[in-house]
């Protein structure tokens, strides 16, 4: 017997989901890494904080920068990676065609 073929929408969606989870993991490590090494001061002992573009340095490198990176990734994902799939007709649309209500 021939192996059944997986639904292409399922395959595309799975691939896209893994890429999204990967991006999440990168951003998580990035933001938390910068926070831990540059922004986290649990004993409140720091006497000075470097400022970049008006923000504390750790906010610039740990939040603003990955945020911009994430926007770029989203643009690339949407235009170059995510597939346009046919998601099918809906059962209730067919039901709608059958009902006899008056058109506006």
């Amino acid at each position: 017997m021939k192996e059944p073929k997986y639904d292409p929408v399922y395959l595309h969606a799975t691939r896209e989901a893994w890429v999204i989870l990967g991006l999440f993991a990168v951003l998580l490590v990035w933001a938390m890494g910068v926070y831990y090494f540059d922004g986290y001061d649990p004993e409140a002992t720091k006497t000075s904080v470097a400022i970049v573009l008006g923000m504390p340095r750790w906010v610039f490198w740990g939040i603003f920068a990955p945020w911009c990176f994430s926007i770029l990734c989203t643009v690339a994902f949407v235009f170059f990676f995510m597939k346009d799939d046919d998601l099918g007709e809906s059962l209730d649309d067919e039901a709608g065609d059958n009902n006899e209500a008056v058109q506006p």
């Binding site: 059944p4 896209e16 989901a17 926070y35 986290y40 000075s48 008006g54 994430s70 949407v78 059962l91």
Partner: protein, 645 residues
């Protein structure tokens, strides 16, 4: 125009224009409803959402009152670290829409499902699973609706409080309240009036227009919100003297002390002139070796008879009515520059410093951020990680978001929707952090009532800039946010009842006319019941919103994600993972409630209960599915294999 002339702030005008707009949109939706399959159109807009509608309804639904009230107050109270607290919004759009969107949409088309319980039931062909999902949904939604109604009323009150028409209407409500026993328990006539106005408005347009009305008003509300931020950002930076200067000033700030003061009026003051309103600054006596200090009172003070000692009316349940709650400013430059009210003196009788950050500079720039209650600060590392997960995965697990993913037109809409939402959230959340860090410089001392910082800043900025009427628009933003959350929740609850309980279990052959009547009645009845429950609302508003919000996703995210992506996942696995998520979450909260005697969860290892419950749900799902029989092959084939002939 007449309203402006009467000294109104214009807020009422903005509010009225806004409400008219909402009802016009509902009327249009109702016209479209005719001629379509009723339930599919009423609850899903016939799955025809385009890019703008899809993206903005998403944005508006997930931005609840918290985004414009609670969030600004957090930035103001804890400083720059809140940028990290909200930081995962950088990835929310792509994750929340992209992770499940395509498959939810596809499967709901395949099965004809129009609600989330519907989808679960059809995916596993199990009415029991559908019933469980309906129960959990209604359980959490009911709590949340009550809390959101309360939030709506509070925001409407702050929007209208200075309007003469509102004040006389509130007075009238007060006299009616005395004659209706149930209403007499409401916290104030103004609260009741705003609750009823808000509730009736939302219930009517939601009931009348259905999902399409909700989505269209969401689009309008989404635009109001982003306009609010775009107007505030440059004004806040300008009036704070530039972002760099603001951050430098914030670096020098040390957290205030919470104090109790005894206020005395100077003998020279006429007894009838002795009034100290809420939020007034007072000078404290100089003590040995210390300069005179500065406090700001948290409540209005009255002077009884000829007494020159101020007191609280009504007297507090605990403590003395002469001990007035206040904050003591600890920043030398502010102590010198702020002008106190003359003729009164405050004497500090009790001081409680911040548990983390007291007396330290730079705490508002670094993590974990100052905190009055927690010795570990506002955002220790483990909580930072928890919140990074929470906004993203809790967002993905919200039934309100999932329903919207059933409703978009096609995968192109999904792609552009992700992009639009990405820019939208980037324009809103990061700039709000900048705005409210600047607010620390522009309006010091709002630790007395941080939830009011958004309307206060809006008022202050627009007055300084010379166009006070814009404040009405800005204050309408949080109101729009709450409204757009409530309408969507209302619809989710009524769809669960009409579709999943009535149509599928009680009367499968009911005619369309009956279903229609039931839908209108259910939507209206749920709204009305939530409104009545909100007359004497539960305490801990924000806590309830957080509890129900992440509670929903701990119950729904894992079973939904796995049923879309894992062919081996089965019915038992879905049921038990849903229960495991729900139960572990509720147990952590219940345990916390009995330990701390307030709505606060136990946090093992300082991780948010959401993380623990999510993990419990995931492990249960995988282990149980692997230990039990797989789903029948025809079911797997239908949902995972290419069925095109």
């Amino acid at each position: 125009m007449i309203l402006f002339a009467e000294g109104s702030t214009g807020a009422l005008v903005v509010f009225l224009i806004y409400m008219v707009g909402v009802f016009v949109l509902a009327a249009f939706s109702n016209r479209i409803l005719k001629g379509k399959n009723f339930l599919g159109e009423y609850f899903l807009g016939s799955r025809s959402l385009g890019v703008w509608a899809f993206a903005l309804t998403f944005a508006a639904t997930s931005a609840s009152g918290g985004s414009f009230v609670g969030f600004p107050s957090k930035v103001y109270s804890h400083g720059w670290v809140v940028a990290l607290w909200i930081g995962s919004y950088m990835v929310v759009p792509i994750l929340v829409m992209g992770l499940l969107g395509k498959r939810i949409n596809q499967l709901s088309r395949k099965t004809g499902a129009i609600t989330i319980p519907d989808l679960m039931r059809d995916r596993f062909n199990s009415p029991t699973l559908g019933g469980m999902a309906t129960f959990l949904l209604v359980f959490f939604m009911t709590f949340n609706l009550i809390a959101q109604f309360k939030a709506g009323s509070i925001i409407l009150q702050s929007l209208l409080q200075d309007e003469p028409i509102y004040q006389s209407a509130a007075a009238m409500t007060g006299s009616v309240m005395q004659h209706v026993p149930y209403f007499s328990g409401a916290e104030s006539p103004g609260y009741l009036l705003c609750l009823i106005t808000f509730a009736i408005g939302v219930i009517l347009y939601t009931t009348y227009g259905g999902f399409r009305a909700v989505v269209w008003t969401d689009v309008m509300q989404g635009i109001v919100m982003v306009a609010g931020v775009i107007i505030m950002l440059p004004l806040a930076i300008y009036f704070a003297g530039g972002l760099e200067s603001a951050t430098e000033q914030v670096a020098d700030m040390t957290p205030p002390n919470r104090v109790k003061v005894r206020v005395t009026a100077a003998d020279t003051m006429n007894p009838s002139d002795r009034v100290v309103p809420f939020g007034v600054w007072l000078r404290t006596e100089s003590t040995e070796g210390n300069k005179p200090g500065l406090v700001r009172v948290e409540q209005a003070i009255t002077f009884q008879g000829d007494s020159n000692v101020g007191q609280l009316v009504p007297a507090p349940k605990e403590g003395s009515e002469y001990a007035i709650p206040a904050i003591e400013i600890t920043v030398p430059s502010q102590i010198e520059s702020i002008e106190p009210l003359a003729g009164y003196h405050a004497e500090i009788v009790k001081t409680e410093p911040y548990a983390f950050g007291a007396g330290e500079k730079n705490v508002y720039l670094n993590g974990p951020g100052p905190s009055f209650d927690h010795e570990i600060g506002f955002l220790p590392l483990s909580l930072a990680v928890s919140f990074f997960f929470m906004w993203t995965f809790s967002g993905a697990g919200q039934p309100g978001n999932m329903v919207r993913q059933m409703a978009f037109k096609g995968s192109k809409t999904l792609r552009y929707g992700i992009l639009t939402l990405c820019f939208y959230f980037s324009i809103i959340y990061f700039p709000l952090v900048l705005v409210f860090c600047c607010a620390r410089v522009i309006l010091p001392g709002w630790e007395i009532y941080p939830d009011r910082i958004m309307p206060e800043l809006a008022k202050s900025l627009t007055e300084s800039a010379g166009f006070p009427w814009v404040a009405g628009l800005l204050v309408a933003a949080p109101f729009a946010a709450v409204m757009s959350t409530v309408d969507s929740f209302l619809l989710i609850s009524s769809s669960a009842i009409v579709r999943d309980v009535y149509q599928r279990n009680i009367a499968p052959n009911a005619s369309e006319a009956t279903i229609k009547r039931m839908t209108y009645i259910a939507t209206f009845a749920i709204g009305a019941a939530a409104m009545l429950a909100a007359v004497n609302p539960p305490k801990y508003l924000q806590d309830i919103i957080v509890f129900t919000g992440s509670g929903l996703s701990t119950s729904f995210l894992v079973p939904i994600a796995l049923m879309l992506y894992w062919p081996r996942f089965n019915k038992i696995g879905a049921m038990l993972s849903m229960l495991a998520g729900f139960a572990s979450y509720v147990v952590l909260y219940a345990w916390g409630y009995f330990t701390f005697n307030k709505m606060k969860a136990i946090q093992p290892g300082n991780f948010h209960p959401f993380m623990i419950a999510m993990l419990a749900s995931l492990i249960t799902a995988i282990v149980v599915s692997l230990l039990t029989k797989p789903s029948p092959p025809e079911m797997t084939e239908r949902f995972f294999y290419d069925n095109k002939k």
